[in-house]
């Protein structure tokens, strides 16, 4: 019995069940909701959230209240940079990806140095960085939408690539495999869990916690920059606040996926399920053809119910 409860409390299982229930509900409400091409469409949206959540996941795993609130501004930055580098030219896609990812990585490293060297709390550091980037975006784009996606990039994100599946989903799958491999099969991956769960012990065993954590923030920026490229590929153009909508959902996807905000425990597999569940939930609510306000209220309430299932903190004991 205890074992059964243990299994039922597994965040991965809860998220997977939530996905199935939502798919079933969607199909009931609007037949055809769970059709193959619809699911591919949903997964495309989930991929954009999932890629930025990969970086968020790393930062959260690294512990010491790790969180990256600057990802939204970095996504916008990545989208604006990529859009201007490409400006509709297929040949410039790879340089655009490199520029966006590189800019994101640099921003992340600055975040990481602020958190580890200056020891600014992550929430404050990344919040401050968000303000700086928003200003930088105004300077960069002079406040008007600028740059546009190359046709090949838009096709890669939106159109079937191989087996009817868009290219972005292959990218996401590759990131998933890479994340799982790095987290579970490399010394770097295990050192993330080590500094996240017990930093003192990790430092005493000789791990350079500061350097590892700085890299994690760098990677979060890198993933956010890449997400920016995906966003401009998805919508075709960019504006300077295009990434704002991803900030807190990226944290929620991580939490719903079973990664503890205290750090040191969780997996990217869970975050993937969390991202899919979030996108599905929004999609089901859209299908309900309710007014915007009631969709919002139900969305928030569902998040609270999900928290009830496993987001609770330890009870205080004497």
């Amino acid at each position: 019995m205890d074992r059964l409860i243990q299994i039922l409390k597994d965040p991965l299982l809860i998220a997977a069940l939530a996905i199935l229930v939502l798919l079933g509900a969607g199909e009931l409400l609007s037949p055809g909701f769970a059709r193959g091409d619809q699911i591919v469409r949903l997964l495309t949206v989930a991929a954009i959230l999932g890629i930025v959540a990969a970086g968020q996941n790393l930062v959260v795993l690294g512990g010491r209240e790790g969180i990256d609130l600057s990802v939204g501004a970095v996504i916008s930055l990545g989208a604006v940079i990529a859009g201007n580098v490409m400006s509709g030219n297929d040949a410039a896609i790879l340089p655009a990806v490199a520029a966006a990812a590189g800019a994101g990585f640099l921003v992340g490293i600055v975040n990481g140095l602020g958190v580890t060297v200056v020891r600014i709390p992550p929430l404050v550091m990344t919040l401050g960085m968000m303000g700086v980037l928003q200003g930088a975006l105004v300077v960069l784009s002079r406040g008007v939408p600028s740059g546009n996606a190359a046709p090949a990039l838009m096709a890669f994100v939106n159109q079937p690539f191989v087996l009817g599946i868009p290219g972005i989903l292959f990218v996401w799958a590759a990131i998933a495999v890479l994340m799982a491999f790095v987290l579970r099969r490399t010394a770097f991956g295990w050192s993330i869990y080590a500094i996240g769960s017990n930093e003192r012990a990790a430092v005493l065993t000789g791990l350079a916690a500061g350097r590892i954590r700085t890299i994690l923030y760098g990677l979060s920026g890198l993933f956010a920059g890449v997400t920016g490229v995906c966003v401009i590929g998805y919508t075709g153009n960019s504006f300077i606040s295009v990434g704002d909508q991803y900030v807190l959902p990226s944290v929620i996807a991580v939490v719903i996926g079973g990664t503890s905000l205290a750090g040191g425990s969780g997996s990217y597999t869970g975050t993937i399920l969390g991202a899919i569940a979030l996108v599905l939930l929004q999609s089901v609510l859209t299908t309900l053809q309710m007014e915007f306000w009631s969709r919002q209220v139900i969305f928030g309430a569902t998040l609270l119910v999900l928290m009830l299932l496993y987001g609770r903190q330890a009870r205080l004991r004497v």
């Binding site: 709390p121 300077v139 905000l261 919002q296 998040l303 609270l304």
Partner: protein, 312 residues
């Protein structure tokens, strides 16, 4: 120096504020005229109030990301109640009371989820903010619904020659002082500093955390009523940036996000500093497109500087 600053990190914030006031007065010759000061205070007051409330939550080791949505929900409630009751002076009072009541309810909801059900504060208050914002859109789908003249004239005017905004600020200061002298305040800091120890000494940790969330939401409600006096109408999207700005103000005021250290007076100064930074940049004659960037850099530097000083 070290002993003087011990527990008085707001002195640094105060110094920064005075420097900013000096710079602003130099850049903007009429800055110290009463009418200009009053209009500046009118602009800064909502953030000041929200930041004061946020401080209590942060002191208890939690965080409240829902204050912006509370501002919106209180605003639409107040203007709707006033409109429904006909718009005379009694209906204005009823609207104000309804707004505060909604604030208290929001705080209780946040406190219940975080302190009783033990949900993670960041995610929880984000989720409740989605719900509150949704309800605000239900009550008033589009911006509009002007408030009666008595309301905004009263807010822009004053009582016995003292501007209303100054009275509100004074009332906030008195509240800070009164709350700060109660055992509640010490207990709250104990809860944020060492939660387990606080629990073991017999403090009702849950009730204290709920009280902090209620205080935060009530201050957000007051901020909303002030904003309503300024804009004189309803707006379901009001106050969206206030949650994150209030956290910056709290940190600038020397309160540790880890909880337990600091106080609302510092946050009040921090909010004024944030507002003054914007002012100074505006009057420094920078090209318009660089203003946000410079402001972001200064705020980030100030946040980093504050943390460095606090660590000492």
């Amino acid at each position: 120096m070290a002993t003087l600053l011990d527990g008085r990190l707001w002195l640094i914030t105060l110094t920064a504020l005075l420097v900013l006031v000096g710079v602003n007065a130099a850049l903007q010759p009429n800055f110290l005229e009463p009418s200009v000061l009053q209009s500046n205070l009118t602009t800064f007051l909502p953030l000041v109030l929200v930041a004061i409330g946020q401080t209590y939550v942060v002191l208890a080791g939690d965080i409240d990301l829902s204050v912006g949505a509370v501002v919106a929900l209180v605003n639409v409630t107040t203007v709707s109640v006033i409109a429904a009751l006909g718009g005379d002076s009694q209906s204005v009072l009823a609207g104000l009371a309804a707004g505060i009541g909604v604030g208290i309810a929001c705080g209780l909801v946040n406190g219940f989820f975080v302190a009783v059900l033990r949900f993670q504060p960041i995610v929880t208050t984000f989720a409740t903010s989605i719900v509150f914002a949704g309800l605000a859109l239900r009550i008033l789908p589009d911006a509009g619904l002007p408030v009666p003249e008595a309301y905004w004239r009263g807010y822009a005017g004053g009582l016995f020659g003292v501007p209303t905004v100054v009275l509100v600020l004074a009332a906030a200061l008195v509240t800070i002082a009164v709350v700060g002298r109660r055992p509640f305040f010490t207990r709250l800091r104990a809860v944020g500093g060492q939660r387990t120890a606080a629990f073991q000494t017999g403090l009702s940790v849950g009730r204290l955390r709920i009280a902090a969330y209620v205080l935060s939401a009530v201050f957000a409600a007051l901020a909303s009523l002030c904003l309503t006096g300024e804009t004189a109408s309803g707006d379901p999207l009001m106050g969206q940036t206030l949650a994150l700005s209030s956290i910056s103000a709290v940190v600038l005021g020397g309160t540790a996000l880890a909880g337990g250290v600091g106080g609302p007076f510092g946050s009040l100064l921090g909010a004024l500093v944030l507002g003054m930074i914007g002012n100074v940049i505006f009057f420094a004659g920078l090209p318009f497109e660089y203003q946000t960037l410079v402001q972001g850099l200064i705020v980030l530097a100030a946040l980093a500087g504050g943390v460095l000083v606090a660590r000492r």
